[in-house]
Symmetry: C2
Subunit: 339 residues, 2 copies
């Protein structure tokens, strides 16, 4: 059974397996460098729904359906479901996943939610409370615009530091036993805390989130007595170009050189030179879909043996922004290894 490690980590004695997963994305993501690797790419971004929020619910539904289908698992065999999204009151999840009728934990960590879901899911299985658990997160460019920014019709221009919310969802089926085949092993987690550097620019979320990522990475290395050399890749969620620079600089000051090992899902999912995505991709679906389509594939194929997966979230709302508040952030780390 797992146990506490250092100040904020959990080390699992026996791994929890990612038995299967699915990544479902929109058209822009389908045209990106990982396009061929996703399980499903929408023909348009409405996915047959009547509005953007429903479309995001379809993303979640399809992702979970495909992930379960790959292992031939029926929803009633899954004991707990951990899910969340970026919308107010997490409606993409509530309306997307209700039909599965799986006992449900709604979670919110902004774009870090995938890391939070995997952490809680792994604890639930390792603790003996479930044989199977599922984790689903999503984001949708248009529903996020409605939730956080201007109506799309406004046609506003955005600064280059802004990120582009990924239309996508990732679903993961976690299990205790990996004999029937598994994509990767979860070996432990480092749970993030709320980090607030006082930055107020919601159009530069990379800069807001970089300190949270730096904190969790430093804490992880302390807790686990490890360094960058112990990982094939250290993969943040959606820092983008500006956030990546900030992260590398912050860690450099702490004597940690991440240059060779760092990768950011927000910079992988789009071709930042050819696709109009400004600083990179972001959103709950960004790192989730990238983990399913690309990162787990590298572990499966043996190109990597161990990675630290670090979804990053900016904990703002349009109300907090309009009230002149800062943008606090959080980042959760999950240690993934080749089976």
């Amino acid at each position: 059974m797992g146990h506490c490690l250092g100040k904020s980590s959990i080390k699992l004695e026996r791994p929890v397996y990612i038995l299967s997963s699915a990544g479902v994305v929109g058209t822009k993501e389908g045209q990106g460098p990982l396009g061929m690797l996703f399980d499903l790419v929408g023909k348009d971004d409405l996915f047959g729904a009547e509005n953007w929020e429903e479309a995001e619910s379809v993303l979640q539904k399809e992702a979970l359906r495909i992930a379960l289908g790959k292992q031939g698992i029926r929803p009633e065999e899954v004991r707990f479901l951990f899910a969340g999204d970026l919308l107010g009151q997490s409606i993409a999840s509530s309306f997307g996943l209700g039909d599965f009728q799986i006992p449900f934990f709604g979670i919110y960590g902004a774009c870090s939610t995938c890391g939070e879901a995997l952490t809680l899911g792994a604890m639930t299985i390792d603790g003996g409370y479930a044989e199977l658990a599922a984790c689903v997160t999503s984001s949708h460019f248009a529903s996020a615009e409605r939730e956080f920014r201007f109506p799309l019709e406004y046609g506003n221009q955005r600064p280059l530091s802004a990120s582009w919310t990924v239309t996508g969802s990732g679903a993961f089926l976690l299990g205790k036993r990996g004999e029937g085949g598994a994509r990767a092993k979860i070996m432990g987690m480092t749970v993030g805390k709320i980090v607030d550097y006082g930055i107020k620019d919601s159009m530069n979320m990379g800069a807001c989130m970089a300190p949270a990522a730096a904190f969790t990475i430093e804490r992880h290395f302390e807790d686990w007595e490890r360094g960058p050399e112990d990982y094939d890749r250290i993969v943040t969620g959606d820092l983008g170009q500006v956030g990546q620079m900030a992260l590398l600089e912050l860690l450099q000051k702490k004597g940690i050189d991440l240059k060779e090992k760092h990768m950011d899902c927000g910079l992988e999912i789009y071709d930042t030179k050819e696709q109009d995505c400004h600083a990179g991709g972001s959103g709950c679906g960004c790192c989730a879909a990238t983990l399913s389509a690309y990162l787990l594939k590298q572990l499966e194929e043996g190109n990597w043996k161990r990675i630290l997966f670090l979804p990053t979230g900016a904990l703002l709302s349009k109300t907090s922004f309009n009230e002149g508040k800062t943008v606090p952030a959080i980042c959760h780390g999950v240690v993934l290894e080749r089976v």
Copy 2:
């Protein structure tokens, strides 16, 4: 260590202790029948803050500070914090609890969030991942009005089936060992699922949530091979008068008679005859503050030996409402016993 029980439950072999707790509320709640039992009643509902959202953050901060203080626990001794509220992107929690610097899990289950927090907190401790964990939830009448309904200035009238969002927060410190004194024992949990009866009236959330409460109660009795006779009270979160009638009727049809044992926090926190609260209190803070101030006190004083605590949540947002969606609901059950 705990283990799975039936379809949706977890039975703890050794209890997890609620070591201390605090209930912090606004003026209206202070004037209600439980007024004298709360740890802190605000002089006004702004709690010294500049706006309602910040005021709600203060509620959470004070509740956690008081709960920790009662056991002389410093924030850095608490390994994990589970928290949530009703606001978009859970900003009351993100801005209220960041200063404690405790590794953080944001959760969302609308007004069921207190049950979700206690469930995850208890699993975390029972699983050996923490010695101490804290759970905090809140709601604020005015921030909820801004989030969900009309601006207060509009002065709209509300139907009698509408509930009144409680201005309040409850914080709970959970621990593995109860030798130093504890308020109650958590013996197990039944995790709810999303239940959607197709009701669309957001001004009648009691009716929307009653089917979810009925489901969790029925499932709990099945999983635990128990009935109403095994509990001194079966306490729902915030069904109010309309929801209570619906719940009793739904269960009656299943052959479960809850009349003698049922209690609803939304009907306890206000004097529904004298105070203008229509169908009763609601909100993430309603059952949390009532649990801390009243329910745990009954267990401590030996008036009750065992209760089933069932926070209920309506999973709507103003966007889902405006798009004509139904109001799905969820309810989590926690078994609490006298120490």
